[in-house]
Symmetry: C2
Subunit: 115 residues, 2 copies
């Protein structure tokens, strides 16, 4: 992807006061919501250049290529942005479980259940 194209995308994103934007990762085929993580400008650029989801770890204050230690990578299929530009929705192909606990996704705990 050309640098100018990535710059044009960056211009549409309303990063917050800390320079971050929340990213919802969703399995592109089943629609399963996997996790929510954060990106700064650099991680967005890395994601677009590599096609591999790369977040900003707020706890480690470092770039975090998803799966870099676990092998449970996320290949980007489609990046969407919401109506006010302050949230991204990444439709991904997930290898293995998305959650570090080994669960398929990070939302394995129900607070209530009124199904």
């Amino acid at each position: 992807m050309k640098s100018a194209d990535i710059d044009a995308m960056l211009a549409k994103i309303a990063f917050n006061a800390e320079g971050l934007v929340p990213v919802i990762a969703q399995r592109h085929d089943s629609g399963e919501v996997l996790m929510l993580a954060w990106m700064n400008r650099e991680s967005f650029v890395k994601t677009m250049e590599s096609g591999q989801m790369t977040y900003w770890s707020r706890s480690r204050k470092a770039l975090w290529r998803k799966g870099e230690t676990s092998g449970h990578t996320q290949a980007l299929k489609e990046m969407r942005i919401d109506c006010d530009g302050d949230t991204l929705l990444a439709r991904v192909e997930q290898t293995g479980p998305a959650c570090h606990t080994g669960s398929s996704n990070c939302f394995f705990q129900a607070l209530n259940d009124k199904k």
Copy 2:
């Protein structure tokens, strides 16, 4: 829902420094991701008491019962929490479009498309 039950849920939520937690709203039947919004403790309590999604509007600094003006309400089906307790996933029944633009969801703009 009993107040003690809601208190037990609140104790599991890691609100951020501003007292807010991001909430992903997802259509419970199709898996469509509708929007991301924020809750404070009060809006979480209102949501659990009423069964109707009630957010905290960061721009208006006010409680915001989804659909209070548009009629496009969200009935809560199931509230899930992620592995580190700092994001909620609300599975909802959406009446009408979720987005104020009239779109079915807020993520109608693709930044890239590698499908």
